[in-house]
Symmetry: C2
Subunit: 70 residues, 2 copies
């Protein structure tokens, strides 16, 4: 990563299924909609940092394990 990063990646699906959670489960636990989880999981847009923290918290890890940058 030599330049200013600009592309997000994520391992939500991997971590989520490891905990046997559906998109809907994760949505409810993070207080957002299933569509939002789906969109973030499929990289439709960059979530707010707060939501990213919540997702990492529910997935029992930290942001850098859930999201990456390129």
């Amino acid at each position: 990563m030599t330049k200013l990063p600009s592309n997000l990646t994520n391992s939500i699906k991997l971590l989520r299924t490891k905990l046997d959670l559906t998109q809907d489960d994760l949505a409810k636990k993070t207080n957002c909609s299933r569509q939002t989880i789906n969109a973030i999981e499929k990289n439709k847009y960059s979530p707010s940092l707060l939501l990213a923290f919540k997702i990492a918290y529910i997935l029992e890890t930290n942001i850098d394990e859930v999201f990456g940058i390129e």
Copy 2:
């Protein structure tokens, strides 16, 4: 942190001054406005995850060192 986290904190000013950068410097390097850096630094709102990553990158550390949650 026993509950779903909901309050952000940050060490932007500390890390920024350690690198001798002004708000404007950091803004330019992260491709955002000085007002945005100022607002985030003063916790006015939760930035996008992408901007958070960029800030951490310019501050030569990772998100968890720059931002915290309560």
